[in-house]
Amino acid sequence: MSETMRNRLMLATAIVLAAIYLFPLYWMYITALKTGSAMFATPPQFWPSDPQWHIYGDVWQSRNVGRYLANSLLIACGAVALICVLGVGCAYVLARYRNVWVDIGLFLILMLQVLPASLMITPIFVGFSQIGLLASPRFAVILAIAAKSMPFFVVLVRATFMSVPQELEEAALVDGNSRIGAFWHIVLPLARNGILVSAILIFMQAFGEFVYSKSIIQAVELQPASVGLNSFMGPNTNEWNNIMAYATMYVTPILAIFVLLQRRIVSGLTSGALK
């Protein structure tokens, strides 16, 4: 078998595997276009004969999707901003030195990374209610998400800072820069890409966050899209086309970002998580 034949065969197999793997996504998009009866047809239609584009508009109106998405966006942006402000400096210091204190700090951060949100929410909720933070629930959720995701961010960004040569910073110091100046003008710009990719990963996580929002935010008009989707899915629901339309509107922006930045995201993720 020639080399090109082999490559074509492998590529075809890979595409088939990817198609099988991505079938649930396809099914979401297709279901969102079906009528109530087409949705429950046996055998199911794998291609909608009569696509119902108006479902999107209907669901957007009736479920207030815009408001939910705005809340998700607000929470995710707040969490990412807080994490970036606090986490970048921490990652920088942990990357710059190698001594026993750094090891201890890293160990603590890795330990905090693993605490499951659904187990931490009980003390967080009780504590927040005692200090009155529940009066501003979206802010409380931002604080909780920031604490949950910051360790992951620090680990990823630290890997980026490790790849910035220290000589550049030392040269800037010799030229009369202060530490702040060298950090701000030399190190940060060099690490910008890695920080951006990590921030995007954190953003995606925060955008889909559910446990904290579900437990802390009681008022419907402040809830993010994940909680909205949860309350849309009653135990005996049969409006699956509407639910899938909702899910589509929720997830498509994230998928678009992912497909555009796929290469960077994958390499950023692998460099921090394991390598």
């Binding site: 793997y21 046996t42 693993v114």
Partner: protein, 300 residues
């Protein structure tokens, strides 16, 4: 004062300030709740004492009550099955895919990256999609299984106590498989190619090469991935909320969902805290294994 200021702009104070704020924040938002959790598990907490810090201590009563409940052991058993089956499925399928893409053909890395979409999707959306795919009468999975002759009648994935846990496991394997594959690919690409060339010259077949080179060389990666898998499966909450809500009759309930359910559905915060403490000890144990297995890599 002046020395302090100049140290912050120019010396060690700068580094300490950069680290102190985030660590302080993490201590306030993760460390204190962790301690508070332990304290609450020894207290009597109800809706009336929720607002006050001074609640009656009851010793080990919460722990004793918890293990006296009839559903505790089945739920712990479910958690074990969920973790073991999810990790096994994610790891084996992920390893298979990683080996397949490792053969390297044009487009391999792009297609491989595409698999990671499952990982960036909100858990609730993944749960909603699988809820619909797994639905009993009209679910597409039942249709495919029927057509291929694997099953005769429909499986009621979400409402049959024998299958409800497996419904969540299937969704969780789909969700975590790609992440496993990507990390395993990183490990595979770090194995020096000349090892295989040497083995091939010595006449080792593909299976022997896999068994004597790939697996031993991947040992630390595999250890890290299994412990990461343990950490991630014990964090999985959204799929339960979206697919079965722990039901029917706790047949698909696991500890991480149960802890939340006790606190926020039954308002039994003390029990919720108690089960959290038990599980967090488990997770911490897993994370020590993880940190140890990645230590040399993380420290660079």
């Amino acid at each position: 004062m002046k020395r302090l200021l100049s140290s912050i702009t120019d010396g060690k104070g700068f580094d300490i300030a950069l680290v102190a704020f985030p660590l302080g924040y993490l201590f306030l938002m993760s460390g204190l709740p962790l301690l508070y959790n332990v304290v609450m598990s020894f207290q009597e907490v109800d809706m009336f004492s929720l607002g006050s810090f001074w609640r009656p201590f009851v010793g080990l009563k919460n722990y004793r009550d918890l293990f006296a409940q009839p559903e505790t052991l089945p739920i712990l058993y479910n958690t074990g099955i969920f973790v073991a089956a999810s990790i096994a499925g994610q790891f084996l399928l992920g390893f298979g895919l990683a080996l397949f893409f490792w053969t390297n053909f044009p487009g391999a890395s792009w297609l491989r990256g595409l698999f990671l979409v499952s990982w960036v999707m909100p858990g609730l959306v993944v749960g909603a999609i699988w809820n619909w795919i797994l639905s009993g009468d009209f679910g597409v999975l039942n249709f495919l299984l029927r057509e291929t002759g694997i099953i005769d009648g429909n499986i009621f994935w979400r409402s049959d106590p024998n299958f409800s846990l497996w419904a969540v496991i299937i969704a969780n394997i789909w969700l975590g498989m790609a992440f496993n594959m990507i990390l395993l690919s990183v490990g595979l690409s770090a194995i020096p190619k000349d090892l295989y060339e040497a083995a091939e010259l010595d006449g080792a077949n593909a299976f022997q090469r896999f068994w004597t080179i790939t697996l031993p060389m991947m040992r630390s990666t595999i250890g890290a991935i299994i412990s990461l898998g343990l950490i991630f499966t014990l964090q999985q909450f959204d799929l339960f909320a979206a697919i079965t809500s722990g039901g029917p009759n706790n047949s698909s309930n696991v500890t991480q969902y149960w802890a939340w359910d006790l606190s926020f559905r039954q308002y039994d915060f003390a029990k919720g805290a108690t089960i959290s403490v038990i599980m967090i000890v488990f997770v911490m144990f897993a994370s020590v294994v993880y940190v140890r297995s990645t230590r040399h890599e993380v420290r660079g």
